[in-house]
Symmetry: C2
């Protein structure tokens, strides 16, 4: 027997939850399939436990017990997971199926049920939101019980005395800072030449002294060659140099993520995908097969809960209101890392700017909180900035990166400014509470105006000359 | 001999500094008069020392020495003061005069010099930026050496064991939280019925449990009737009740501010003012006497460094570029209090909304961080919200108040949205980094859309019916 639905949603992470709950709320019959925990990475092994841990680490004081912090993380995570699971089970119009899905045809799914057996389903629309998992690396000699990923990290009961973090990306950095504050000795190593290499190089320059100040030891351009269990020693190779890391308790592997796609049977359904970039989708999340959508980590453009949610919302609109106009482009996705200081950015990448604009058309404005804001002074900030790439003369903002205590909150101002095309000329006229880090925004506008107004003829000439010329 | 200048600026606080430095930078000859410290309240007895103290208090840990925090505040304050004083002394086109100014005629000033003697000055333009000072209250029996105001607070060398704060306004609340965190016992009393009564009542409701959680004792609707030095006991009267506060070391008086106007000789110059509302100015800061301006605390509309700066910038434009068009209205001034959690607001007051709009035209949206954002959950937030008053159907934002950890930073998003008339319909389409407090902004838009979209006919009807009707 085949059950037919309006929509099948595969994967109950942030994107899938948004899509399933939204469509069910509009009266559509939804089959919702999950083999693991409801809530996906975000609730179970991502944002929720990691931000709980980061919050507890921030308020951690000498004399407190770090094990209790770890246990509080698990408690909060489990409470939210239970609540979400209960909600999903009782959603009107949702048939929740625990198991693993595989395409048998473009609009047909076979589920290997957790309880045993299989079930066949079909639907007019299918949403793939199976997410991603940590990429594993082999370190010869490293026992399994010393190896952690973000999937096992938040089940830790005892604080490791010495945590080695493999990787220098978002998860690696967030956890390195948090565990260090909770009292662990932390050593990081990565193949990357710098921390948070996904951002512009200025971010790494600002972050590295903060990493060192907190006592996190780092080795960049390094790989692990082996672990000696008897000596609890990890050996790294950094160019010609060999580095011994001693007394290692745990190794957190955070070297990237792999999309959960290979066992979905996408080829049987003729859905185009590849392991490197994910499922090919148009700006509405639709794959090459009409009626089959993909959102979240499995797509090329989204690696965050908030972007998965946004894609989920677009897919709801597309499926439920196919005749309603929907903006051609995806909304812009801001990005935040909860290191200390935080890092956030929004807008075009450096590559996109270089492809689209002549370099002479772009001005870079940099405001350092330490030198250019009184709040930076009162708070003793040493490293932190707002960098904005804008079009000269018009002050249209293309890209902003912020390193600072509240970068993840401050960035939304620029998401609004960029998406509503509000130029620095207008931002210059706003008043910002004193003394905040946001008053650095005024400085960005102020620096732009000081460069532009006295040289208005030159700026106009350059603008007219370069505006239709491309970069590269 | 009379010295003639393009502009005389009286008072070297934030507003005066902005005006003097700005005009001098444009090549105008400026006389800059200050009898006290350069930098005004902000640098010397306001934002800079208070935010330094708040920052140190936030990072204060058991075992640290609170006296060192106080001394660090003084050190940072003095360093900035010295730097600013040196800068002012060496500014091109600025004649810095140390003394006290008094109008002898509409465009004539007599300065009683600090060094002795007097000096007469005249100018085409005069800017009054003499600021304000703490309002004092008499407490019979309280010795002078136990009495503090924000002017003497930051010269404290030793942490008081028990600090009584008189007042429940912005300065009172900020300092109560900071001194409590630094380990002092803190008791607050105020005539006000609630803390931070300048904000909407929901702010006080959210703040009071946080005040209590931190162990600050409060007595509202209370006045002091006397101090017994032998017993170190302050007696309060709260209605019929008498309250004894024992072992009092210091009393911080923070019950409001008085404008520094009465000794300026404004009447000789026919400048209209009164003690209650300050100097009467139009939206460009000009008094009834052409060429005489007032900015900052002495005006009816500004009580903040950032608004004084904004007014200073407007006066520069008005004086230096009289023929350039300048927006008729003052920009909107956001407002922030650095309590814990912080409080910030922007937009119209409740009174202005009631005067301008029919109550049926307004929708109030409230998002609680605890219930409606995952960040509120991970961070264990109990009290904190975004409240927005918006026009129904259109989603145009009139007023926003935020109580939360980063309220002072988050508010600028709404300053931008209100001043650029960006409705909740547009804000709904933005993506916010997860998990941030700013994702509460999306919830505000979400709640509005959920109330509006399914009832669009009713909303349209109500909008059309009430939009031209006034309140009250």
């Amino acid at each position: 027997m085949t059950n037919h639905f309006h929509t099948i949603v595969i994967g109950a992470g942030s994107g899938g939850m948004t899509a399933a709950i939204g469509l069910a709320g509009l009266g559509k019959q939804v089959a919702f399939i999950e083999g693991n925990h409801v809530g996906g990475d975000c609730t179970n092994v991502g944002c929720v436990p990691s931000k709980t841990l980061i919050h507890l680490a921030k308020h951690f004081k000498p004399g407190m017990n770090p094990d209790e912090a770890l246990q509080e993380v698990t408690r909060k995570r489990d409470a939210l997971r239970d609540k979400e699971t209960e909600e999903v089970r009782h959603l009107k119009n949702v048939t929740f199926i625990e198991g693993w899905a595989k395409f048998s045809a473009p609009k047909e799914i076979e589920v290997t049920l957790k309880a045993g057996g299989t079930q066949k389903l079909s639907a007019e629309n299918i949403v793939i939101s199976t997410g991603a998992r940590p990429r594993m690396i082999e370190i010869s000699g490293l026992p399994k019980e010393r190896t952690l990923t973000n999937e096992s990290l938040f089940d830790l009961r005892d604080m490791p005395k010495h945590l080695v973090v493999a990787g220098a990306g978002v998860i690696a950095m967030e956890m390195a800072f948090a565990f260090r504050k909770l009292g662990a000795k932390v050593t990081m190593y990565a193949l990357d030449p710098r921390p948070l290499a996904v951002y512009i190089p200025e971010v790494s320059e600002a972050l590295q002294p903060e990493i060192e100040k907190k006592g996190i030891v780092t080795h960049y351009g390094a790989t692990a060659t082996g672990f000696d269990e008897a000596a609890k020693t990890l050996t790294l190779k950094q160019g010609e140099k060999e580095i011994k890391i001693q007394d290692v308790d745990k190794v957190l592997v955070a070297v990237g993520r792999v999309r959960n796609l290979e066992s979905l049977g996408l080829d049987q359904a003729q859905i185009k995908w590849d392991a490197r970039t994910g499922v090919q989708v148009n700006s509405f999340g639709e794959t090459n097969v009409k009626g089959v959508y993909a959102i979240g980590d499995v797509t090329p453009t989204s690696a965050f809960t908030h972007s998965a949610n946004a894609q989920g919302r677009r897919v709801i609109q597309r499926i439920a209101f196919p005749f309603l106009p929907l903006a051609k482009k995806e909304p812009i996705f801001p990005n935040a890392t909860f290191s200390d200081p935080e890092v956030a950015n929004v807008g075009l990448t450096q590559k996109q700017i270089a492809e689209k604009y002549h370099p002479q058309l772009i001005k870079r404005i940099r405001v350092d909180f330490k030198d250019h804001t009184d709040r930076g002074y009162t708070d003793g900030v040493e490293n932190g900035f707002i960098i904005a790439d804008v079009i000269r003369l018009t002050g249209q903002i293309l890209h902003v990166t912020i390193v600072g205590t509240n970068a993840s909150e401050m960035i939304s101002f620029f998401t609004l400014a960029i998406s509503q095309k509000i130029s620095l000329h207008k931002i210059y006229r706003l008043v910002y509470p004193y003394p905040t880090f946001s008053s650095g925004i005024l400085k960005v506008a102020d620096f732009f105006m000081r460069e532009t107004l006295p040289n208005i003829r030159k700026e106009l000439g350059a603008f007219l000359k370069y505006r239709f010329l491309k970069g590269n």
